[in-house]
């Protein structure tokens, strides 16, 4: 954890889960902004250039897999690491998320220390 609170973009449509994750990430010292769908996620990535994106896969308007693929194809976004965050727990789902261009994968219910370690790993890799 650094004090320089690198910014995290949380993409989550479920209000309860969003509220919980935001508060826990903030308590862990991260600066967090949130959006509720895939389309808005791409828009926020362009504007904010977050250090890392936590993205739920089942999103309205544009789902997480599509958003990941589009981010990969966009040169201005392709360097931003995306950690997939989903209640789909099958191996197949994990493979699908990584194929769509996600850097890492976390299953709900979230093992919070593990999630923080994954975020840190992505941030370290970027530095």
């Amino acid at each position: 954890m650094t004090d320089i609170d690198p910014s995290i973009l949380l993409v989550e449509d479920n209000e309860v889960n969003r509220d919980m994750l935001v508060r826990r990430l903030q308590r862990a010292g991260h600066h967090v902004s949130t959006v509720g769908d895939g389309e808005a996620a791409l828009e926020a990535m362009r504007q904010q250039q977050p250090a890392v994106v936590l993205m739920d896969m089942n999103l309205p308007i544009k789902d997480g897999w599509t958003a990941c693929q589009e981010a990969q194809q966009d040169p201005s976004l392709s360097s931003i690491p995306i950690i997939a965050l989903t209640a789909h727990a099958m191996e197949e789902d994990k493979r699908r998320a990584l194929e769509a261009g996600c850097s890492d994968y976390a299953t709900k219910p979230v093992d919070f220390p593990d999630l923080l370690a994954k975020i840190a790993a992505q941030l370290d890799a970027r530095c």
């Binding site: 449509d13 889960n17 994750l21 709900k108």
Partner: protein
């Protein structure tokens, strides 16, 4: 195709056995024809040669007769000369010998009469007359030979010359007839030989043609059979042999094969359908499992996440925001209840599917139940800012005999669906009773459904769209349970809906399935 059909219609439909009989019959007829021709030829030849032989015999007789006459005349002339010179009478033996000679000549003449037929009749008649006359004169000569001293008249010269003349004519005629008969024999032999050769050659040709036709038609039938077996065997299950093309055994075989093909096709199709059903059932179960896993994890995420967070906050020892703390606990409780509902739904559906779901009937007031359910579920209205309109026709309502718990769950599921898919709208729960039934409808002003969505929305594990669960939550079990419960209670559920125009679920349940009330 039409022309080929017409040709096959014209083709005589004969069984293999029939073809063999026809074929054998044709060959026997040809054989009989050949034998007949040969018999007729030899008969005709025989007739001709008999006639020829007769002609030859007649010519011989004529020559002998001529010789006899000449000898006799010689004798008569010698006797006449002797009589003049010696005047010695003839003894009885010589006379008898002479008469016998005359008799022999007469006999010869008669024999000659038996030959020759009509052609020679006239010639023979003339010869007969003149020979008879001559013999008469010679007889007189012998009779008078001893009586008188005077030399008896031998004959009139005319008689003998006449006879000679007639003999020559007959002889010539006989030669002519013999030549004619010889020619006729030649012609007959030539003709019968030609007919025999022709018959033989045509028999061979016709037999070959028959054999060829037989082989061809049988081969064609068998080829059709073979092609059918090959096509069917290679997976063309709809292929059938044209059983109209053959009759008899091969036709029977084709029909039997087609029957077998139909049964096999049905069996294979049933098997494929069963396999497809099993596959899709399996796929549905896997899908369901994935959905259930997803849905269980979503509330669990909140429960674990909030609990851990509250634990952390307590551990910090910092000032605790009681209101926030209370709200977080409420979230944990709500998620826990959501989880419980989900598990109950899954268990219910599993019970229904395995036939273990029981109906427990009791007498209760449906109006009271509806009011109770709507009260209990009113917090759901707040989620999407909806209003409730409760429209119960109290005059028609009375107690009913049904499963209270199941009716409660039916209404609960419909109500929570309506709340889930409607935003800033109105949920109308209305109820009335007819003589026999309770009719409850739950209508909303929400997103509604297309016809295709309506068609599958009652299926277990499915929702209007595959990502409906994403947007609105749920596993697609609520309506499946509603439909099953309605069926178990002897009623039904109907749906009217249009996209963006809201949905109206209408449940009809028998008020008392054990007896029809005798008037309200």
């Amino acid at each position: 195709m039409r022309a080929a059909d017409a040709v096959s219609q014209l083709r005589p439909r004969l069984s293999l056995r029939g073809r063999l009989y026809l074929f054998s019959g044709a060959i026997l007829m040809l054989f009989a024809f050949n034998v007949g021709t040969s018999l007729w030829g030899s008969f005709a030849r025989n007739e001709s040669s008999i006639a020829y032989r007769e002609a030859v015999t007649a010519a011989q007789l004529t020559a002998e007769l001529e010789q006899n006459l000449q000898n006799k005349r010689q004798q008569v002339l010698v006797l006449a000369t002797l009589r003049e010179t010696t005047e010695e009478p003839l003894d009885a033996a010589a006379l008898n010998q002479a008469y016998a000679d005359l008799e022999i000549i007469a006999e010869r003449l008669r024999q000659l009469g038996g030959f020759g037929g009509e052609d020679l009749e006239a010639y023979y008649r003339r010869l007969h007359d003149s020979v008879t006359a001559l013999l008469g004169e010679w007889r007189q000569f012998y009779e008078r030979y001893n009586e008188t001293t005077q030399t008896p008249d031998i004959e009139s010269a005319v008689s003998y010359n006449n006879t000679q003349q007639r003999l020559q004519e007959l002889d010539q005629r006989q030669s002519f007839v013999a030549v004619q008969r010889a020619n006729a024999i030649d012609a007959t032999i030539t003709l019968t030989d030609q007919i025999t050769v022709l018959g033989f050659i045509s028999s061979i040709a016709i037999t070959l043609a028959l054999v060829f036709a037989m082989i061809r038609s049988t081969n064609a039938s068998l080829t059709r059979m073979k092609r059918g077996v090959e096509r069917f065997g290679s997976g063309d299950l709809t292929y059938r042999i044209d059983e109209q093309r053959d009759s008899g055994e091969i036709g029977d075989l084709a029909r039997t094969f087609n029957d077998m093909s139909t049964k096999l096709q049905t069996a294979i199709e049933e098997m494929n359908t069963a396999r497809a059903d099993a596959d899709s059932a399996n796929a549905a179960k896997s899908m369901f499992l994935a959905n259930v896993s997803h849905e269980l994890r979503t509330p669990l995420n909140a429960i674990i996440g909030y609990s851990e967070m509250l634990q952390d906050e307590l551990g910090d020892g910092a000032q605790i925001d009681r209101e926030q703390f209370h709200h977080d606990l409420a979230t944990i409780i709500f998620s826990g209840k959501q989880l419980l509902t989900l598990i109950n739904d899954i268990l219910d559906l599993s019970k229904i599917e395995t036939g273990k779901m029981q109906v427990s009937r009791e007498i209760f007031s449906p109006a009271g139940l509806l009011v109770q359910v709507c009260d209990a579920l009113s917090p759901l209205l707040l989620q999407n800012n909806n209003r409730l309109k409760l429209d119960i026709d109290k005059d028609s309502m009375r107690d009913m005999n049904s499963d209270r718990g199941k009716l409660q769950q039916i209404v609960t599921n419909l109500f929570s669906n309506a709340c889930k898919f409607t935003k800033d709208g109105e949920i109308t729960v209305s109820a009335h009773m007819s003589e026999e039934s309770l009719i409850v409808s739950v209508a909303d002003t929400g997103i509604g459904m297309t016809q295709a969505q309506q068609d599958r929305v009652f299926e277990a594990f499915t929702q209007a769209e595959s990502n409906t669960g994403v947007k609105y939550g749920g596993t697609g079990l609520g309506l499946a349970i509603v439909r099953e419960f309605c069926a178990m209670l002897g009623g039904r559920v109907a749906l009217e809906s249009q996209p963006d125009q809201g949905s109206n679920f209408r449940v009809t349940l028998p008020a008392d399935p054990t007896s029809v009330p005798a008037g309200a």
